[in-house]
Amino acid sequence: MAVRTEPFVLNMGPVHPSTHGVFRMRATLDGEVVIDIEPVFGYLHRGIEKLAEQRTYTGITPLTDRLDYISSMSNNLAYCLAVEKLAGIKVPERAEYIRVIMAELQRIAALLIAVGAFLNDCGAYFTPFLYMFRERERIVDLFEMVSGQRLTYNYMRAGGVSQDLPEEFMPALRKFMDMMPRFMDEYDRLLMQNEILIARAKGVGILTGEQAINCSVSGPVLRASGVNWDIRKADPYSIYDRFDFDIPTQATGDCYDRYRQRVEEMRQSLRIIRQAMEQLPSGPVRAELPQLIRPPTGEAYARIEAPKGELGFYLVSDNSIAPYRCHIRPPSLINLTALRDMVRGWKVADLIIIFGSIDITVGEIDR
């Protein structure tokens, strides 16, 4: 017998342990069932697009670091690709390989956080998260070696990368590559058959392929819904067409599939890094460019497959040293479009899991 209750509004956030930053949801509940949610954004709106209009093309790179702060290298790459497309800059071969290695390492690091935080939301309080944070720490070590910072790398520049790899980098990377597959197996042993995880995540928050496409969802969330679409394959940027890797997809598009999808993608990233390490040529790492870049009047949209989805930079130039307009296509924000459809009819506890499985970064949502 269903008891009729008045719908009431539950406010979650902006400071809440499971909203991954300062994110707020107004959930309308019927008993414990979510009948509607309204996400409230803007608690981290820092005006990055406005600031970009006032800075030189080089000076914007530090801003992109702070967009999706757990994958700074990917943001750097997307921005640099956009500037290069706009100004017609050719990047040296070695720089391309270094960029691919960095972007894929960053993907592993960001997906580790995504998986760890998702499991944290599932109730595995902090244990898997700390395991994965430890492995992320190994990757951060490598980034620190090349760029000198632990979180905001500011490593890539239009026309290459800022400095060549230090000589101790390749041995360290090789050691990391030898270890990482073992850790991946360990995570699988720790979690894959865990009954609690399966009970909480399987069949929850299903997003169908058609719905995902209609909501412009991209990245692992889209592929978990069974759509084989990866920009690295579909629209290869940089030198991704030279590597041999697969695009894993899942069938149903529930929370468990999104978790599995991320784990599978990490393994593919390792494959790409291994190939890039073998092929790494020697040579210059930075094209000769003037200090202030003045691209010709026009517009360019460059996109990459960031850990969270399609990250794109739409730049409009008016032949000055600063872009006329710099729009960022934020995968986190657009993936959240589907949230409302996914959570309706589920319980409040499932709302947390579904939200966690989308994997957002508030810095990128609000910009």
């Binding site: 400071v15 342990p17 981290l44 005006g47 600031l51 720490e137 979180l151």
Partner: protein, 205 residues
């Protein structure tokens, strides 16, 4: 396939939004000047009273070795904060492994990240809800001065010291976990100097 758009929200109250907006505007208008640093203790001399200083020392030792952190991690620095809490740097060694989601159970606020005007009333409320005595560490450039986003004046608060008094400033963008731990140790030194029992007030009685 035709997918129906989700349509109107069941609950989307414009009145409530306006009220919240008014609170933000009021706070913005009232906090244009930075709150001075609570640094008077740096110049003060310690009172000489053996019994009271021993009691003070005991209380302060208890307080400084069990600092509990309130969750207020808006942005990037949060990840260095978590890294400091994580397996490699392990803040639990200082008795502060717990991140309290409820500010009422916390006495330290590590402000890791950019503060926007929209968020400012909430931070002020978290600070007000924290149990006395309470301390604030401003972590990173954004928390100190607005940092890279300081020129987006319309949205970003130029430093947490507009909203709440800050005890220790840790520069960096973001600071390394070690730098944060160093800042926490500085705060512990400050707590060690704190006078909990006022001698003059006791004598007056």
């Amino acid at each position: 396939m035709e997918i129906k758009p989700a349509g109107k929200y069941i609950y989307s109250d414009i009145e409530l939004d306006r009220e919240e907006g008014q609170v933000i505007e009021d706070l913005k208008a009232n906090s244009q000047e930075p709150i001075p640093d609570p640094d008077r203790w740096l110049d003060e001399k310690l009172e000489q009273n053996i019994l009271l200083t021993t009691v003070d020392a005991l209380i302060n030792w208890g307080r400084r070795s069990s600092l509990w952190t309130a969750i207020c991690f808006p942005a990037c620095c949060a990840f260095e904060m978590i890294a400091a809490n994580g397996p490699r740097f392990d803040l639990a060694r200082f008795g502060m492994e717990i991140l309290r989601a409820s500010p009422r159970q916390a006495d330290l606020m590590i402000t890791a990240g950019t503060l926007t005007w929209k968020m400012a009333p909430n931070v002020r409320r978290i600070y007000n809800q924290m149990a006395e005595p309470k301390w604030v560490i401003a972590m990173g450039a954004c928390a100190i001065s607005g940092g890279i986003f300081a020129s987006a004046e319309y949205a970003v608060v130029p430093g947490y010291n507009r909203i709440i008094p800050v005890d220790v400033y840790v520069p960096g963008c973001p600071p390394r976990p070690e730098a944060l731990i160093y800042g926490i140790q500085m705060l512990q030194q400050k707590i060690a100097r704190r006078k909990n029992i006022d001698v003059r007030k006791l004598l007056e009685r």
